[in-house]
Subunit: 277 residues, 2 copies
Amino acid sequence: MGVILAKYLGFCYGVKRAIRIAREHADGKSCTLGPIIHNPQMVERLKSEGVDAVENLADMKEGTIIIRSHGVGPQVYEEAKSRNLKIVDATCPHVKKAQLSAKKLVEESYQVVIIGEKNHPEVKSIFEWSNNKAVIIETEEEAKQFSSCQKLGIVSQTTVSGEHFKKIVEWLIQQKAPDVKILRTICTATDQRQAAAIELARDVDLMLVIGGKNSANTTRLAQLCSEECKTYHIETAEELSPEWLNKIEKIGITAGASTPDWIILEVQKKCQTILRK
Amino acid sequence: MGVILAKYLGFCYGVKRAIRIAREHADGKSCTLGPIIHNPQMVERLKSEGVDAVENLADMKEGTIIIRSHGVGPQVYEEAKSRNLKIVDATCPHVKKAQLSAKKLVEESYQVVIIGEKNHPEVKSIFEWSNNKAVIIETEEEAKQFSSCQKLGIVSQTTVSGEHFKKIVEWLIQQKAPDVKILRTICTATDQRQAAAIELARDVDLMLVIGGKNSANTTRLAQLCSEECKTYHIETAEELSPEWLNKIEKIGITAGASTPDWIILEVQKKCQTILRK
């Protein structure tokens, strides 16, 4: 009987950095544009510390705008400047690299393909840095249907798994473009968390995956774990129902890259309390 | 009963061009450096027309040196200049593209990989254009063992099959280099000839593959055909033995990219004569 944490879980480098930057600007006059990370509890806590979030730049008359970890397109920087707002950039450095890679490939006349989720804000930001010229490819089916071009430039959403990236690239290469440039803008944090979660899920009776319901990487962790054992995706300890742990010997815990440590600890403590009864 | 020619066979664009250029310089003072193409009969014929071959630049005191279709490294051009020889460049334009691609990749700090045969003169020439810095990869085993690097640039011998190229690239991509540039310097002539030869070999009782025994692409054609039906690799009609055609209904003929039309016609005529008896 016991509660085991995945070897890699929770905050990644980019998220830690974004929150640190936000806290450094908690002066009551700074706002993030959209939620700084995909975790409602952390966003709420930052608000109480003096960093609110706005949905549009038009909602701010003055002060500092904090660009969130997922990044934004170049026109947001322009607009913020034109509104005389101070800009603080908390874009994850890995995302920034993907954005600038897309920009450079377009400048070098490559047809850019972004491997990633069409509706994810990070992918949208990379798309905008491609001067809205990239094609976003999410599935193998889409990759098969991609029509060939002379110069094909490939970048990736940072949270795509290495395996998925490889499969899509293999399809794209089959189109036989004479010049293909592949910029592997994947961050290893996602693969590490996924591999650790799967390894743990194979060894326990139940997995608790903690993180925002709006977090793509947390949802993906939950999906992968559910293929190995009974799995629940929760945002906080409150959601954890004691009945779930009936007749359960070993509980595994993992958490998305945007899940703060204090929530992980709360869940862990609640599990231990229930198990002790 | 009959003799059928493969849909694509014989001289490719680069070979035709090289021979035309050599003939334009048949003034008795021009020599090719090495055999202009890998076909002894054609080389012999050019000699009778006034274009001899030399093995080394040092063998020439004056006149014009004709660079053969497989190309040479940059130092040969330098040496020819320093010996006051006139240079006529009959390098196949597809090979030239592979050479300049390797050169450019090295200039852009890529670790260059050439997919091709280590001992083929074309590959040696591409290697020399990489400033002798490329790694030549011939087999999947070698690709598996290739250790990763930050910037990986891939070019190809022009006569590599699309299928082999794809397999090697897939292995190399698995090494997860963050920046991979693939310049697909394959000429379609090889794939066309191979596909047409296989298609024909499946439909006939015997395949005759005509071309230099020193021609890599002819040898490969013979190998592919022999997997489908009884196959003979011959250089000329003289080698064709009447007994081979005993009880044979349908004969297929293909020829390497360096095999002249007149040899193909001679073989075809000899087959028909034997069959008519």
